[in-house]
Amino acid sequence: MSEDTVLSCTGLSKKFGGITATDNVSLKLQRGARHALIGPNGAGKTTLINLLTGMLTPTAGRIELLGVDISRLAPHQRVQRGLVRTFQINQLFDSLTPLQTLAMTVSQQLGLGASLWYHLGNDRRVADRCEQLLNQFHLSEVMDQPTTQLAYGKRRLLEMAIALACEPRVLLLDEPVAGVPAGEREELLQTVANLPADVSVLLIEHDMDLVFSFAKRMTVLVNGAVLTEGSPDEIAADPRVREVYLGHGEAHG
């Protein structure tokens, strides 16, 4: 593995009975990558994320993070090593506020999670990091509202803030702007664009405006297998990709 490769998978496959959801996929993410994973519905994009993060066990193949084989680690162990994801459908603590959620995540990250009888609010490091994240993700004005009452776009931002609070080396974003109303979209797009430069990002998204403005490199997945990989220009010009995925550009936007 080259020094710059942060995350890689080799010959990754996953079968569900007779269905091959992931078919011998090999992929490399470089340090600071802005990499998009696109493909038709049912191509296996989310399954690949689930394999990389340990939510599914591969039938075959190997996954390395920073040169270490993590194929057999549990999801939380992968998070501890810096492999963090967001979900297509928000997975949030609805009864907590954004501040409480982030304080809990940051505390865990700082190793304070197991300290019983400890007032987390007293720790300056927790407070500072929370404030920074709330600002960065445009959540300051709603930090004390129960998460369940937040507008959908804010919930998406919180999902991403939690991921960032885990101090990722690699961030896997599964359709971060899906379902976000036009009014809240811009905020989210800017936030995605402003993610820390040293964090490698793998983005799944059907919003081609976002994908093509964000990605420096793209992989196209079809029927669980890699159809092609290249620069956004190469992908946009590839007739096979237009045929199976992009169409002719009348509708997406």
């Binding site: 493909g39 519905n41 379902g179 811009e186």
Partner: protein, 236 residues
């Protein structure tokens, strides 16, 4: 052509809470209406009210003269309302084909035709609902509403999570069923351009009230007004 669907001063919400306030508009057979508005302005509540899953406090909803507001949700489906909810709500323990045949009613749309529209579903027809990807579930939710052969189709964010090429297909299909087959449609979408381009009317909600009502094509070309109504730069 007379109006097929009519809403008059509809006030509705959840329990005692009022979300929609005196909403009125009408839709002719074969017409498509783009229902727009910022988040939390009542779009989904309006769709749910037409489908009969909210509490209607006042006003009337009629479909071809039938008082829908007096009917339970399942009776509205029988009266010609097809609903694609935002959460998709497909039957996870049924196969793709069973999801379609369980609800199909006589008419132009059959499971076979749905499979022509979404070839991916044809490949998945023996898979259970819980074995589908997010986008495949979305296709199935739309297909299931179509095989009801409704008079009015309620689509709550039908394009969400779909690949661009499928979005094109679906928009073409909606245009075809409304223009050629006389089905009406009310569509809630986060991409106003895509939907306005295939709609006749546009209704914009804010705080549960109608703040704009007019021709969809006109609104499509008034970028500033659209930005103002939706509170954003919505043009690509």
């Amino acid at each position: 052509m007379g109006d097929m669907l009519q809403l008059e001063n509809v006030t509705a919400g959840y329990g005692e809470a009022v979300v929609l306030n005196q909403v009125s508009f009408s839709l002719a057979a074969g017409e498509t209406l783009a229902l727009l508005g910022r988040n939390g302005t009542g779009k989904t509540t309006l769709i749910n009210t037409l489908a009969g899953t909210t509490r209607q406090h006042a006003g009337s909803i009629t479909l071809n003269g039938v008082a829908l507001h007096a009917l339970a949700s399942h009776a509205r489906a029988a009266a010609g309302v097809g609903w694609v909810p935002q959460e998709r709500n497909i039957f996870k323990s049924l196969t793709v084909l069973e999801n379609l045949t369980a609800v199909a009613r006589p008419g132009a749309w059959t499971p076979t035709r749905v499979f022509e529209l979404f070839p991916r579903l044809a490949e998945r027809q023996t898979n259970m609902g819980n074995q589908l990807s997010g986008g495949e579930q979305q296709m199935l939710a739309v297909g299931r509403a179509l095989v009801l052969n409704p008079q009015v189709l309620l689509l709550d964010e039908p394009l969400e999570g779909l690949a661009p090429i499928i979005v094109e297909e679906l928009l073409r299909a909606i245009r075809r069923v409304t223009r050629d087959e006389g089905m009406s449609a009310i569509i809630v979408e986060q991409h106003p351009q895509a939907i306005l381009a295939i709609s006749h009317q546009a209704v914009v909600l804010d705080q549960g009230r109608v703040i704009h009502q007019g021709d969809a094509a006109e609104l499509l070309h008034q970028a500033e007004l659209l930005d103002q109504l939706l509170g954003v730069k919505s043009h690509a």
